[in-house]
C-alpha cells in the first residue's frame, strides 16, 4: 500500500516540523494518472517487458516506503522522518 502520511522534523539552526498528508497528494494526482494510463500502456506495448518492469518497480519502491523511520540526533541537531 502506498504511503499515506509523512512526518519530517528538523531541529537545529534551521528548525521546522512538517506533516505531509500524502494521501491528499495521491488524490490530486489520480486524475493525471488516469490520463497518463493509456500512454503508459502504449509504452509497455512499444518497449515490452522492460517498461512494465520499470513501472512495477517504481510502484513497489513507492509502496515499500511505508514504515521507513529515520532518526538521527547529534549535539544541537536532530532529524526525524517517519512515513506511514
Amino acid at each position: 500500500m502506498i504511503p499515506l502520511l509523512a512526518v519530517v522534523r528538523v531541529d537545529g539552526p534551521m528548525r521546522f516540523r512538517l506533516w505531509l498528508p500524502l494521501f491528499l497528494l495521491w488524490i490530486l494526482l489520480l486524475p493525471f494518472a488516469l490520463v497518463l494510463l493509456p500512454f503508459a500502456l502504449l509504452l509497455v506495448v512499444a518497449r515490452g517487458a522492460a517498461a512494465w518492469s520499470v513501472m512495477r518497480s517504481t510502484f513497489e519502491i513507492l509502496s515499500g516506503m511505508r514504515g521507513t523511520h529515520v532518526e538521527v540526533s547529534a549535539p544541537g541537531n536532530s532529524v526525524f522522518v517517519h512515513i506511514w
Partner: protein
C-alpha cells in the same frame, strides 16, 4: 539424524556391532541437539532492516549522538530490482561515479538473490567502536 540411526541399525543387522553397542550409539545420537538452522527458517520473515548507532561522547561533553534507522526490506528489494533494470552502459557510468567517490563497487553485482542471502545471514551484527572522544555501538539487524 535418521540417516545415522539407519546406519547403526544396518550395522546391527549385519552383525558388525552388538545390540549393546547399537543401544549406546543410539543413545549418543539422542544426546546430540538437533541442528538448528541459522537462516530465515529459524525466525519469521523479517520486514525491516534496522541500523542503530549509539555514540557516547560523554567524555568530551554531556551530549550523545544517536542514529535509529528502519528501512522496509520491501523497499530494498524493489530498489535492487530497479537497479537490475539499469542498462549496461549506464551501469558503467554509475560504477565510474562511485569509484570517483572512493566506493569501489560494481552495481551489476547487486542482485535480488544476493540481497536475500544477506538478509538471511544478518542476524544481529554489532560493532563496538572506540575512538578518542568516547565509544560507539553500531548494530545492524533485521526485524
Amino acid at each position: 539424524m535418521n540417516e545415522h540411526r539407519r546406519k547403526i541399525l544396518d550395522m546391527l543387522a549385519e552383525g558388525k556391532i552388538s545390540a549393546d553397542e547399537a543401544e549406546r550409539l543410539l543413545a549418543a545420537l539422542d544426546r546430540i541437539p538437533p541442528a538448528v538452522s541459522t537462516t530465515a527458517a529459524a525466525r519469521p520473515n523479517p520486514k525491516y532492516l534496522r541500523v542503530v548507532v549509539d555514540t557516547d561522547e560523554g567524555l568530551v561533553g554531556d551530549t550523545t549522538t544517536k542514529v535509529n534507522i528502519r528501512v522496509p526490506l520491501q523497499l530494498l528489494r524493489a530498489g535492487v530490482r530497479l537497479a537490475g533494470l539499469i542498462p549496461m552502459e549506464a551501469r558503467g557510468h554509475v560504477n565510474d561515479a562511485l569509484r570517483e567517490k572512493g566506493i569501489a563497487f560494481d552495481i551489476s553485482q547487486l542482485k535480488p538473490e544476493n540481497l536475500e542471502a544477506l538478509i538471511a545471514q544478518i542476524n544481529d551484527l554489532s560493532v563496538d567502536i572506540d575512538h578518542a572522544k568516547g565509544q560507539a555501538k553500531v548494530k545492524v539487524f533485521c526485524e
